[in-house]
Amino acid sequence: MKRRDFLKVSAGASLTLAGLKLRVGGFFRRAYAQTQKPPELPGSLGAKEIPSVCEMCFWRCPIVAKVKGGKVVKIEGNPKSPTNGRGGKARVCARGNSGVKLLYDPDRVLHPLKRVGQRGEGRWVKISWEEALDEVAENLKKVKEKYGPHAIAFFDHGASAKPLREVFKALGTENYSNEPAFFQCVGPVEAACINTLGYVASGTMQYTDMANARAILLVGSHLGENVHVSHVMDFVEGLSRGAKLVVVDPRFSVAAGKADLWLPIRPGTDTALLLSWINYVLEHGLYDREFVSRYCEGLETLKKAVKGWTLERAARLCDLPQDQIEQAIKLLAAARPHVCIHPGRHSAWYGKGDVYRHQALLILEALFGGIGTPGGLCFPTPISLGRVQAVKEAEVEESEEPLKGKYPFCDPFPGSPTHEIIKATLTGQPYPIKAWGICGANLLQTIPNPYQTMEAIRKLDFIFCFEIYPTENALWSDIILPDTVYLERYDDVYVYDSVPQCYVTVRQPAVKPLGEARSPFWLAKELAKRLGLKVFRTESEVEILNERLQGLGLSLEKLNQEGGLVVLPAKAAYDRENFRNVFGEKGLKVKLAIEDFEDEDFSPVPIFEPAPAPPEGYARLIYGRVPVHTFSRTMNNEWLHHEWPENQAWINDEVAAKLGLKDGEEIVLENQDGKRSFPVKVKVTPGIRPDCIYLSHGFGSRSSKLSRAYRKGASDQFLITHYVQDPFMGASSHRTNFVRIVKGGKVLNLPELRPLPPEIPRFKVSSARESRRATRRRKKARKSYPIEGC
């Protein structure tokens, strides 16, 4: 042990200047016997290894953080993991690697901030945690007293939101968790899964056994472009073992590049294609009779409903060659039951018809006998964690007019549909909403019609966010609280309960938080104290983790002795007889026709409701991902920005030739409401239909300050101003917007190269024009952000 003198260094008389006491006087202390540090091994050699869980996206790959001198120097996959670690090698993706860069990014929010300019302006002063917490608590209390508990709303996403969610629940609001994850993404597919299969075969987790599949169907998937390590590894493993692949997508995606058959479908007609396939399978006896008679209900209703859905009809509506449609279904049917009809993930596409589309996908899988089957969809294996006593979960009492009330299948989702919250904030109906909290979700980059969201924020009494980066949320918040990066904190116990093997692991800090960043648990605890709410009975996160791990006879210490991860067998993956659905009932029952839907005046079987086609002169705006970025979160990460700095607008080659557009040329996109993008380069390609324009998501940052991401490419999000809400659970559509091209200031109308069948209506140009006129009127009325949308 070195001897140290903890006396502060005396800075001499000069420090007392006209009676001033200088803070810098306490910056150093003497350290005796301090000599040279022993020489270090290069790179990550000799580093301490801390097992944890990645959070560069929500896929949660098990990782090992290598720590040297109190700093994370490298991140690798946890070799013990059966998902991203196979054959002795463990992987993380480019984003997973760049967690180091996020941790040490000088742009991070490291101190509590308070707004001093207008909302949206981004002018702040630094304040103390005391002051920040008091402000948040005071304002929430005030709103609750004046307008009642439901006037408070919490928008959240990801693990770090969990402790804070408990505080909002204890405050009594029914709007305690309005996750864009559900209402902008997986909601419709989850609703279809719960009601058809009785479990969420596709949501945050994907129970798709692609590694063992003999054939795979992907409808509008970005697999390989949105890299989720083990998901992509499963996909590649299946293909390398010879699985056939059918890809239905208006764009030649990365997955399409690997396909045996690519069907470039007319957007918005997927359900027509699926209904014709279901009919074909039934008419030609290509289904698994034994599975259907044993596990399925409603076959007759289904048969009747799909009668008349000939391949010829689908070919015309979907703008696909009939022989290829037939070839595809034969190819899939030949591999039954080991067929993976991928149920999809991001499913908030057109609003109307989204649930039916996913219902149709699940029906097709069931007809092939692919549920609870190797190579099809598998079941989760129940893994019982211990009960947590240290956190008191509040029961929330619903309001008289709950915001989810309009949506009969919204119940399983926590909180309320995001757009219902935004509308209630704008109108005060059915009740006023006056305070928002945000954690882990960039509202303006996620929710359709960001202009409407900004207008709603202007109406609030108070808004705060808990953030890692000073993004749009911070610009619009009154108080900004510095969150920790996942490498600095504990989160929950993570359970993976699918194939090939299950495991349990934890997220735990590799290093101390930088600056004044604080963990979500600490924030929730401090806030609860100030609000007088008894939520947490412990001061320590480890106690909560240990309570959870106890259920498996483990503790954090024991788990760490095992390399931070314990593998368990996936014993329930294909066990149909012992399967228990989300309602606790035993045995698999697949509903080919859903009575509950009928009870609520929906169709019990999927029906085709065409999504309105582009107005003349416009193309549909479609979007996707690039493998090195997560949502809009990572564009400013220097490593990832370097790899993929901007997006391009994909335009069909024939269209480009007609308009005289060349590859690499710069254009601007204008949507049906007159909103324009930043300049973006054209990618001329035969790999997209002439009635679509494609952008990868998250680029084209609107922040005007010095930023790597600023003005790099076009933002799809700021062109998504029109949305339709799914009538089942209230998700908002993202593919209901249309764009045309502006080049050199001149608007170019797109030629219509694929004529529209009369059954498909067009999006009304007139309504779009009216809305533009209305926009101008409103602008004249000196409102800077018009309210638009549905």
Binding site: R4, K8, V9, A11, G12, S14, L15, L17, A18, L20, L22, R23, V24, G25, G26, F27, F28, R29, R30, A31, Q34, T35, Q36, K37, G69, K71, K101, Y104, D105, P106, D107, R108, V109, L110, H111, L113, G117, G122, R123, W124, V125, K126, Y469, P470, T471, A474, I480, L514, G515, E516, N636, E638, W639, S703, K705, L706, S707, R708, A709, Y710
Partner: protein, 183 residues
């Protein structure tokens, strides 16, 4: 002749402004005059809040990106990061001097730490170490910091502060050369 107290004041001026800001900056004005730096015309600051907002904008957070993070590491590491090479370098110098930085919510390569460190070395007459700190570390990053500061269009008060530090550290280098006989 550069005095320790000038460096202490400069260090203090690079911390988040508090009630003492007027006294601190009036010391700086006289320092600027001694150094022969022209005083900008508009040195007016409305109030402490305005100064705090400007400090936050420049050195703590701006939307998306902080224009002028006041940390050596940001300018000395290859990938503009915190706690990189520049940070390690600063700490190695502190170690050599037998000093340990007290990092409470702040990083030891913050400009204010480095200026305080120089003040200590100067007061204790440790010229060879001071000389090396300047040439091998501080003056390798500070000019880059100053360019970023000027580009961020700061309030004249902060522009002046930035220039004073450059002028005084150059002076300091001369002093060191004389005292230590370094070439």
């Amino acid at each position: 002749m550069v005095k320790g107290r000038d460096l202490w004041i400069l260090a203090e001026a690079f911390l988040y402004p508090e009630e003492t800001w007027k006294e601190i900056f009036s010391h700086l004005f006289s320092l600027a005059q001694v150094l022969g730096l022209p005083l900008p015309e508009d040195l007016q600051v409305k109030n402490l809040r305005e100064l705090q907002a400007e400090y936050t904008r420049l050195f703590i957070n701006s939307p998306y990106s902080t224009p002028v993070p006041p940390y050596a590491s940001v300018y000395l590491s290859l990938d503009r990061r915190l706690q990189g090479e520049g940070y390690e370098q600063a700490r190695a110098f502190y170690r050599q001097a037998g000093l340990e930085p007290v990092e409470e919510g702040e990083l030891a390569d913050h400009l204010a730490y480095e200026l305080s460190f120089m003040a200590l070395l100067l007061e204790e007459g440790r010229f060879p170490l001071l000389g090396r700190f300047l040439s091998e570390h501080f003056l390798r990053w500070y000019p880059r910091f100053l360019v970023a500061l000027e580009q961020a269009d700061p309030l004249p008060l902060y522009r002046l502060l930035g220039r004073i530090v450059l002028a005084i550290t150059h002076k300091l280098q001369e002093v060191v050369h004389e005292k230590a006989g370094l070439s």
